[in-house]
Structures are given as C-alpha cells and as structure tokens.
Amino acid sequence: MTESKIYFKFDGKKYAGNEGDTIAAALLRNNVRLIGRSFKYHRPRGIYTCGIEEPNALVQIINEHNEPNVRATVKKIYEGMIIKSQNRWPSLKTDLGSINNILSPIFSAGFYYKTFMGPKGFWKNVYEPLIRRTAGLGKPPKEFKSKSIHQHHNVDIIIVGGGLSGLLAAKKFAGTNYDVLLVEREDALGGILKNANKIKSINDQSSNDWLEKTERLIRNSNNIKILKNTLVTTYNFSDHLIALEDKNVGKPQNNEKPELVLHKIRTKHTILANGHIERFITFRNNDLPGVMLAASFEKYLNRYGVVPDESPVIFTNNSSTYSLLKSLTDLGHKPKAYVDIRDQKNIEKETVDLLEKLNIPFYPKSEIEGCEGQKEVKKVSIRTKKNQISKIKTSMLCVSGGFNPDIHLFTQSKGLLKWDKDHLTFKPDRIFQKTITLGSVSGNFSYEKLLVEVEKKLSEFEGLNELEVKFELSGPEKFQIKELWETKQEKKSLWSKSFIDLQNDVTTKDLKQAVNEGFNRIEHLKRFTTNSMGTDQGKISSINALGIVSKILKKDISEVGTTTYRPPYSPVNFSAIAGRSTYEFYDPERKTPLHSWHINQNAVFENVGQWKRPWYFKKSEDETMHQSVQREAEQVRKTAGILDGSTLGKIEIKGKDALTFVNLMYTNSFTKMKPKTGRYALMLGEDGMIKDDGIVCKINDQHFIVTTTTGNAASVLAHMEEYAQTEWPNLNVYMNSITEQFATFNLSGPKSRVIMSRVFNDIDFSNDKFPFMSFDNFKYLDTEIRILRASFTGELGYEIYVPPSHALKLWQKIFMYSRDFDLVPYGTETMHLLRAEKGYIIVGQDTDGTVTPLDLNLNWMIGKKKKDFIGKRSLTRIDIVRESRKQLVGLVPIDKTLGIEEGQHVIEQKDLSLPIKDPVDMLGHVTSSYFSPNLNHSVAMALIRSGKRKIGSRLFVSTENLNTIAVEVVEPNFIDPKNERMML
C-alpha cells in the first residue's frame, strides 16, 4: 500500500493511520487495545465492535472543544487530531478508580438507591461529588459557537440504509417519478458487501464492481438524493424522520462551515433497510480488551484493511462466522481455535471442511467459559463437550451470539415486534406508519429471498424498474443458530465478572439479584439495574438480557417483552439540535427607541420577556442598586421622574361592535365613559382570576386603544382573538397590535405639569382642560402624538405616545426643559417601589393566576350592572366569595428599622424556636416589599387568609433564620391614602 500516512495523538503518544481509518481502526493498526476505563468499576476496556453499537471505546477529542464520548469505532482520524481516553485517573494504565472493582459487592444492582440514603446533607456534600468523580464517561466539552444548521426535506420515499437491500430498493426507484432520499450512515454505500465475505459475485461481477455501477446509476437518476455520513436517529409519528449528517468526516474542524446538519425529513413512505447488529455472549470477563464481535473483526479486515489479530480464537453459536473464517484464512492467517456451541452434525459442511483443511483446532459443542488477563486477554478457557476445561493462549477472542434486526427505528415508529424462533430474535411484525422493512432488519437473513422480498414489498408502487440480480454466495446460504446467552462459569474470584451491559457495568449477577428483589417486569428491571441505559442503549446486549431474565422467570422471551425504544437511535449533539438558534439568534432581543440613551446614562437592564428594560440607572460607578432606587424614588415624589414605558403592550380595537367587545373583555363598564377618556381596567379569565391589567382608552364607541402589561402583550391579543373568533364571531370587531408603533413615556411627579407645559407650550394642561384620565391627540412637528393624563405612581402624571422616529429627540427635549427640577430617569425597580408605596399591584408579582379582583379589594372596578363579561359568573361562585380566601393587605414592621423579604411566610406565632412541635399555620406570603425612602421604613404587600378581617392586627413574618419580624396589618395604601397627589 502506498497510501499516505495520517498522524494523530492518543493519550499524548503519536500514531500513524491510513486515510479513511476510524480512530479504532487506526489504533488496532498500531496494536493499541486498551482504550478506556469502565463506568463503575474502572475495568480496562478495549474495542468491542466496528460501528455505532460500540459500548466501550469512547474517547474525548481534545482539539474539537473537548468533545466527549465520541465513538472511536465511528469517528475518522485526520492529521493532527488529539485524542484522550476517558474515565481514568491518573492514567489509563494505572487507574486508581479500579479499586471500585475490588469493592464491587457494594456496587451491585440498585446500589445508588440503597446506599446514599443519609445522613442529611451527605448526598449534596459527599456522595454526589464522589460519584461524579469516580463514575461516568467523558468530561463536559468547552464552550464553543456551533455552526450547525437544520435542513428540511419533503420526499416521497426515504430509504434508510445504503447497504445491499437499500441499494436494490434505490435501483427499483432510479429514474422514476418518485422523489427519493437515500440515507447511509457510513462514508460509502454497500454495507455488507464492504464488510464481509458473504457474497462472491453479483451478476458475475465482483461485488465491488456491481456496487460502483449501481451507485453511478443512482447518482445519474436525477430523482434520488444520496446523503452519506448521515445517521437516521429518529422516526417520529406521521412519517417524520430526523437524521444527523457529519459534514466534517476525516477532516479537521473548520469553524467557518457547518460541521453538523440536522435533516428533518417529511416523507410519504419509509423504507427501512438499516440491517442488523451482531450480539455478544456473556461469559466470565467478557469485557477484557481483546474480546471483539466476530462480524466487527471481519469488518476491520474487509473495510479498513486492518488485521486486529492474526490468530484469534473464534467463538460462535451460529453459522455466520464462516465468513470471518474465510476472510481471515484467505489473508493467510490462521485462527488459534474455532469454538462452536452447536453439535458437530449441525455445523455447516463448508466450515468443517475449511477447518479440517487448514488444520485449525475445532471445538464443537463447546463454549468459552471465560478469559484471563490483567489489561487484555492472555488466555481463554474452553469448556469442551466432555465438560472439561481447556486453556488456550491467545490475545484475541472473536464472539458471535447471533444477529438482531436493527429494530430501533421500527419500534420508534410504533411498529410491533414478534419473536422469531428460527433466528432467536425480535423482528418487525405489524407496521403502524407507512413503513416497509427490507433485508435483515425485516428478519430476512437470506440473500436469495431478498430479491423476492424487494419485489413483493415494493409492488404497491407503480412504474418501478425490473431488477436483474443474481448472487453467488461464498458460504452457507441458510442461517442456523443455537440459543446461548450466558456460558457456565467455573471459578468465582472477586475480580471475575460476566457483563450484560458493558457501558453501564451491569453484570448478569445484578440481573439475577434484581429479579430476586422482585423487579420482574422488564421496564423496572432496566431502571433498577441501569441495564441498556447507556449511550449505546445496549445495542449488542439487550436481547441477551431478555434471554437471561426469561430463563430466571421461566417465561418465553416474547412474554418478557422488550423495553421501549425511544429516540434518538444514537446520541445527537446538542449543537446540532440547537442549530443556528444560539447566542444572539437564540431569542430575539427587543430594544426601545431610547435604548442608546439608556446605555449612555448607565442603565442596568432587566429582561422583561424579550424586552431589555432599564432596571435602574447608576448615577456613579460606586452607586449600589439600593442607592440608585432610593434616589430615583425620592426624586419622583419630590419633583418629577420619567420612565420609558414603550414596552407596554398596545392593542387597537376597531369595529361597529368594539364597545360591546371591550365590555366583554374587561370587568369595567365602558358604556357611559366619555370619548377621549381612559380607565384603569382588569381582564379576567373565565375562572374569575386576574389575567392582566391596563388602561382602556376610548376614542369613540367604535374605536379603542388598550394597554397591557409588557409580558402579557401577546397573550392578551391572542385571548381577544380567541373570543372574537370562536365565541362571538357575530361581533364586528378587529384587533391589531400597535406596541411598536409608539414609544411611551411616563412622566410623574408634582412638577410634571410644569414640565409638560414647557415642552408643549401650546397645550393647556390645567385641571379643567386636561382632567385626570383624559387624553387627546396633538400635532407635533410633522407627526401626531397622544397625551394621556394618568398615574402610574400615585403622583400627578402624563403618558406621552410618540412615533419611534421622534422618540429620542422628544425625550431629550423633556430633559432640556426640566434641568431646574432635576428630572430623574427611573427604571422598573423604582416603578415597582413607587407602586408598592401606593398599594398598586403588579400583575404577575402580586397576583399569580389564583387571585380575583375581590381578593385585591378592587370591587370598584367591576361593572356590576353589566350583564356579562369574561369571568363575571365565576365571581359569585361559592369558593370565590369565601371570606377565608387569601386577600391583599399591607404590612408595616413594628420596628421601623427592619426589612421584610419578598416570598416569606406570614404567620400568627412569634416564636419559631426549635423543636417546632406543631406545624406552623401559614396565613400567606409577602408578595412585594420595598424600603420606602419617602416614608423611611419598609412597606410590604401580602396575600393572607381572611386578610381584610385582619387589618389592624399584629402578625409575624418569617425570615431566613428562625427569627420573626412583628408587623402591623394595614390597608395597602401607604402614601397619600386620599389619592390627592395625582389630582393635583
């Protein structure tokens, strides 16, 4: 071979591999067999398979942002790749965690559930850190910016698997009118033709020639798209599949291009031709490096040109290993021994002849009892047909325990399985979606029958091509197998174990113990033992586990049933799922037209939904949040403050029946309301609970503008649409979101009228001409603005609605005209404080979806004379009028120096000293609490049981320790209880 070498590093050492090698192939080429340490016992582990089913050979790719748990049997090498083994410390060869193996009696089934029970605090401080250090797979990757993308397909047919069956199906469809997607997980089509020595020729050509010709035909057909290096991971309901394409196979990372593509495929029919997976057999120390599945060994020979070992022992319970024997001996190598559990009379003549001809030691009706070796296989021990133990020196053991149709995707699609007695495995039975299975995935392991199967199952499609294919096989055509899940063990040292799940370190002993403890349902057993719960999902072992359990339970395997197969088939990178929806693309950020001004004024922002809102403004670098908020709140009530309220939702409602509709949507009555006035209004759900609040402005009976809270803008519009469309479609009414059509300023404070008069000197803001809750539109430069006199804070206040293009200039103008008043910009935290001082609620803070207007003492907002509005009937339900509901009250600490914490409980008892004998009766909780700079003490609001009746009494509020704070229960209106300031 003249191929150029590729150099990579594994655990610091440099190795050379060939182009196209997987990490595993390249390491085997260099005779490296110890790849990692196991999950629980830290036992040495090697390469068990040659593909996606690998349980052991998981590695970390250091130069790909530390990508962990990469299958060495799938990932291809490239120049400069840096690979590290996983779950070992300090090094792979001397691993201290392997002491767990000696301590293994305490690590048995249900270990985690049983052992780490107490004492209190031990889980968090001792157990979890310990488990995390000693058990597990790779380390988390470093942060990186993914360039993965999503791609959508709509096709007539998807063919999953480009092996022989998939190719035959594709050939049938080539050049027809069907839109076909052919998906192959390897980098080349061909499957078994490339992996094994089973087919000598097709149509008298070598199978490679046939493959090349067929691929060319498919490529030139114009109706079939081929995706290679693409793994179908998910078969959802409604003919929807998801596949993961690796765009970077055998190439170093390029951060400019998408490395992964998540294909979302909608199809009319799905052809599953995804083949089969070889399973193992359980024996003593069946996990040692050097034990490998037989078909995988053969795949290394045929596909990669790597000979993992020149003289392995072969152990089988079926006829398929002839192909391995043939491949190996054709290369001039000779197995150490051939061990077959079947009677000699059942073993195929071809096999026996070949063994005899080459003089290979042959053990019919024998089994492997176990393996010996510290870090890899040194010897195997064979139990011969006379029940004697015979030991053979070898460094490799190839095992075949039979084949399972790869039914994962089929069962994801909700297809049903049945037990196949001839092949001792589950195979597809009843389809649930438009699924066709072809080849070994359908349980058909015969090449002769494959052609018949393809013709028959594709006969529902019209206009397909005729197939002319003739196979010449190199081995026995008929598949024959004898049941064998676990071999009989000779000695039982502490170190010796027989594994049923290699990745999660589950032994057959664990299975037996779990059944003894009563876990006799397969789904319970799986969770209790963690069998088949690793990232490989027990692909080579789960049927063996069923076999062993069915024997213990003395039931048929079909009665035991399988556990549920859930997507994905194999782990999918989060970066692929996220696609481009990361960082700035994850969630849009909404900024008001004044955003740049806020940044210049050192605003600290708060996220409200997608909006960035100023939370508070830092006047100097060393000003704390508390200081900022106190300063802002004090200034507002002293002179004036201004808040950017642009984020408030605004909905325009128009139509002949707008008045009727608004009357139905809100609790208040709007019928007698004069045009050009506004009203603070409540929106309820049908259950009577507060949904939102806002101001309803009436332009006339056919035209309203309502505001919503920032976070509820979309849901309030959706709520209105729902009722307009479904409940009252006869009403002539139209809604439109105009949130972003206007910037909104809330000017508050005793000086706000003077400021308004200076800025808009042609408008009369006197009480007579511009009374509380009135609004009007005014010409402003080349546009129009709307000014509403309303109060957010309990102070004299105005709301200005201005088109975004004029917002910044007007905002600056307002500041220019109010220098002598020290007009203060304030943020949401100050707004909450000012509202709390007045007992004004914040929907979502003082309400939580279980609070009615009656609970908040807002009866005055309910239009009792209205015949109906959403939620009205609920307000008279027995539970809603119950006096003992939680109601909103104000709390003031008796000791005025103390602060109350939001979320704390309100209780009747002062003394909480330990031990607490009786449960503490909790009356409710504190919903809002602030230190009021204007009153110089804390004010709080709370929802407490029978709150209205408790006004004037003394209660206690819990703290983070066992102290309580004595409070007086008051009306929730702490400043200006007669509401005179806003009427100024």
Partner: protein, 117 residues
C-alpha cells in the same frame, strides 16, 4: 411531529399550531341563570377521551385563525378539519377503532412493543 391542514393556509407543520382543547363547549348564554355546578362544568370540565374527539386549534405562527378538527387522541391522526361555524361532522363518520400503537387497552397507556400473544 405531525402536520395539520389549516383550512385557510393548507398543510403545515404541527409546530405552527397551538391546541385549544375540546371544541363545541358552548359558553352558557345566560351565565347568571345557571348554578355554580353548571358554570364550573363549562369552565373546568373537559371530556379528554382516548379516541376520536372534536378539538380546537389555532394557526398561531401563520394566519392566527381558529378552526376545529377531529383528532384521534390515541394515534394523533387528524381526521378532519373544518372552519368555526361549520357543523361538526358526526363522529360515526370515522372508524373509532381506538387503534393504539401497540394494541394497548382502551383506557390508560402502556409501552408494549411486542404484540400481546
């Protein structure tokens, strides 16, 4: 992940739609005249059967229109969509086989991927 045929826009991905619960639950004409129990049934109680069912859907990320659908809740098959105001098709029009993925019982759920012998 199934598709839904919006009666206004055509077939679209399920992710564009939101479910609005049982359809044809009429809001009482005169809420003041009915008992607490009757009103509560309107507000809180829905049939939620396993099988064929009238449902409301809204094309949230599309035309924002509400419409009705007949869906088999055990298989997620949408058997029919129709506009608000149109008469609901009688359920007997559809074969109510309660065909569940794995032949599980009519009530409750299960995960049996092997057919019951």
């Amino acid at each position: 992940m199934f598709t839904i045929r919006c009666p206004y826009c055509g077939e679209r991905d399920q992710s564009e739609f939101s479910n609005g619960g049982e359809a044809h639950v009429a809001r009482p004409k005169d809420p003041e005249q009915i008992s607490d129990r009757e009103w509560s049934e309107y507000v809180f109680i829905r049939a939620n059967p396993k099988g064929i069912y009238y449902e409301r859907w809204v094309h949230t990320h599309g035309c924002k229109k509400w419409f009705n659908a007949v869906r088999n809740t055990s298989t997620d098959e949408i058997l029919k969509v129709y506009k608000i105001g149109e008469n609901p098709p009688p359920l007997k029009e559809f074969k109510n086989t309660i065909k569940t993925p794995s032949g599980e019982p009519d009530v409750g759920s299960g995960n049996f991927s092997v057919k019951k012998p």
